[in-house]
């Protein structure tokens, strides 16, 4: 059975009338390394947030880790790691990096339960994996953008997730940090955890079979298997083709206006 099973789902933001994801189906198995590409506003982030139950699915069927997403979104979120896009913590944020990483365990712990030794061990392991031991006692707001990004990755690693989703996780990181963390995710995939990563830059991808999903207009435009070296050229080609179609439609519409 697939870890993620989406069948003809539609999702819309609260208060929004138009569906952002439309009739989308996707099966993701254990240990798959999925890169999600596509132009801006293709619905990539919305797809991740739908899988995590942060956005309600209005139509269609969805199960994640064997749980029905529409009925058990809270439970799904405890099992799914999700590194969000665009966060900023002001310099006065009164939490250390270690405390923030520990917060990744809170969902699993459940209401009112206190962290145990096991939780503290998981936190130390996540901090070690993300390579931020020297930042553990630093206030997160005083860390650089890249350090904050690593802390958020550690926050999700500490969760020991059954699915790991990352939304442009390397945007603030230098090449060596990207390459290193990609290896960490490769290891995670090897243990059976599927990785779903929204990305615009594809350098440093691990040398393993990669499934590339290209989205456009809230739908999956292409879904294919490839290797790390091919990802960029395929996305460039697919997005280029999509943009070309768009450009042609725009030019034609402009011509209609002028006639």
């Amino acid at each position: 059975m697939s870890v993620i099973n989406l069948e003809g789902i539609y999702t819309a933001y609260e208060g929004g009338e138009k569906a952002v994801i439309r009739d989308l189906s996707l099966l993701v198995d254990r240990g798959e390394y999925v890169i999600i590409g596509g132009p801006n506003s293709a619905g990539k982030t919305t797809l991740l947030e739908s899988i995590n139950g942060l956005i309600k699915i209005t139509h269609g069927k969805a199960t994640v880790c064997g749980l029905d997403l529409s009925a058990q979104a809270d439970e799904v979120r405890k099992k799914v790691g999700y590194v969000i896009q665009n966060f900023y913590f002001d310099p006065f944020t009164p939490f250390t990096v270690e405390q923030v990483v520990m917060m990744g365990r809170f969902g699993r712990l459940g209401l009112m339960n206190r962290p145990t030794k096991g939780d503290r061990r998981a936190v130390q392991k996540a901090i070690h994996l993300a390579g931020i031991e020297d930042l553990a006692h630093k206030t997160i707001g005083t860390c650089s953008g890249g350090q904050q990004q690593k802390a958020m990755i550690a926050h999700n690693l500490a969760k020991e997730p059954e699915v790991m989703m990352l939304d442009e996780p390397f945007s603030n990181l230098d090449f060596s940090a990207r390459e290193y963390l990609q290896e960490v995710f490769k290891e995670l995939a090897r243990t059976g955890v599927p990785i779903l990563m929204v990305a615009h830059a594809f350098d440093g991808l691990p040398d393993i079979p990669i499934r590339l999903v290209v989205m456009n207009g809230g739908r999956i435009a292409h879904d294919l298997n490839c290797n790390a070296g091919e990802v960029e050229s395929i996305v460039r080609k697919e997005c280029g083709a999509l943009d070309k179609d768009k450009t042609e439609r725009r030019i034609n519409a402009g011509a209609d206006h002028t006639e």
Partner: protein, 276 residues
């Protein structure tokens, strides 16, 4: 509770009420200011003010209607923003204006009808005519607030860090958030008689802002904010009765003065400025 120490019953009741109100409000204020919920707290406190005016106008219990009003406003923010397709801040501004209009309309009408004294206590508070039951209720809400913090400490800190990240981590954000709003409504409504609708917000926000100038972590903020509020309130009550000054505005002014001083003295701010 403080009768063995303070012989004068009026002063004793005023001090007790002020201590409980300032502890409850300042603890909640730490959460409100960190979660950027100041506008919600502001609107809820004025909704409680309007609710109390409605209760008084209808001859019912002003505190119950104050709680109901502020809860209703908290519950309406989301749906109104969605339906009217506008930002939550604009919705809050509309609800705040509505609350103030309802309160001022009813207070003016009651003054016209000869109920001016009780109505004006809603505006400016009335520490000298508190009932024993009101002080017990404030003590209960103060204990409830402390229990809420102790029981949900890890969830509250995660919400204070970032609500979206907390939700993505699998924390039951909505449950904790609505309990928080309920306790804010309760604290605000019960404290209304002491400091009044126009000044209640000072108790919510200023002690937390003072603590924010010195504290590097949340635990110390939860200790420093109520301590600052308690000391300033106690001093305000003593000075108010000693020099025949209006207690609630005096406490508000003193808290603002301490805040200004803390901004000048803040070593935390200086450290952060150096680091950036």
């Amino acid at each position: 509770m403080l009768e063995p120490i303070i012989q004068n019953n009026v002063v004793c009741h005023a001090l007790e009420a002020m201590i409980f109100a300032s502890i409850a409000c300042s603890i909640l204020g730490v959460i409100i200011s960190r979660m950027n919920l100041s506008s919600i707290g502001f609107t809820m406190s004025h909704a409680a003010f309007a609710g109390a005016a409605v209760g008084m106008f209808l001859g019912g219990n002003p505190q119950i209607s104050a709680i109901a009003f502020s809860m209703a406003v908290a519950a309406l923010i989301g749906p109104i923003s969605d339906k009217a397709k506008m930002a939550a801040d604009a919705t809050l501004a509309v609800l705040f204006a509505m609350s103030m209009a309802v309160a001022i309309f009813l207070i003016s009408y009651m003054e016209y009808m000869g109920h001016g004294l009780s109505a004006s206590s809603l505006l400016f508070g009335d520490v000298i005519s508190l009932y024993r039951e009101e002080i017990y209720a404030l003590a209960a809400v103060c204990i409830l607030t402390i229990i809420f913090i102790l029981v949900f400490y890890k969830e509250i800190t995660a919400l204070m860090f970032n609500m979206k990240i907390a939700e993505a981590a699998g924390i039951r954000v909505k449950l904790v958030y609505y309990v928080l709003l309920f306790i804010i409504a309760l604290s605000v409504a019960l404290s209304l008689n002491i400091v009044g609708g126009l000044l209640i917000f000072v108790l919510l926000v200023t002690p937390a802002s003072i603590a924010g100038q010195f504290c590097f972590n949340v635990k110390s903020m939860f200790l420093v904010a109520p301590l600052a509020a308690l000391l300033v309130s106690a001093f305000g009550v003593w000075a108010g009765f000693e020099y025949t000054l209006p207690v609630a505005p005096l406490v508000a002014l003193l808290l603002t003065g301490v805040f200004a001083l803390s901004v000048v003295l803040s070593f935390k701010r200086r450290i952060n400025t150096k680091m950036h």
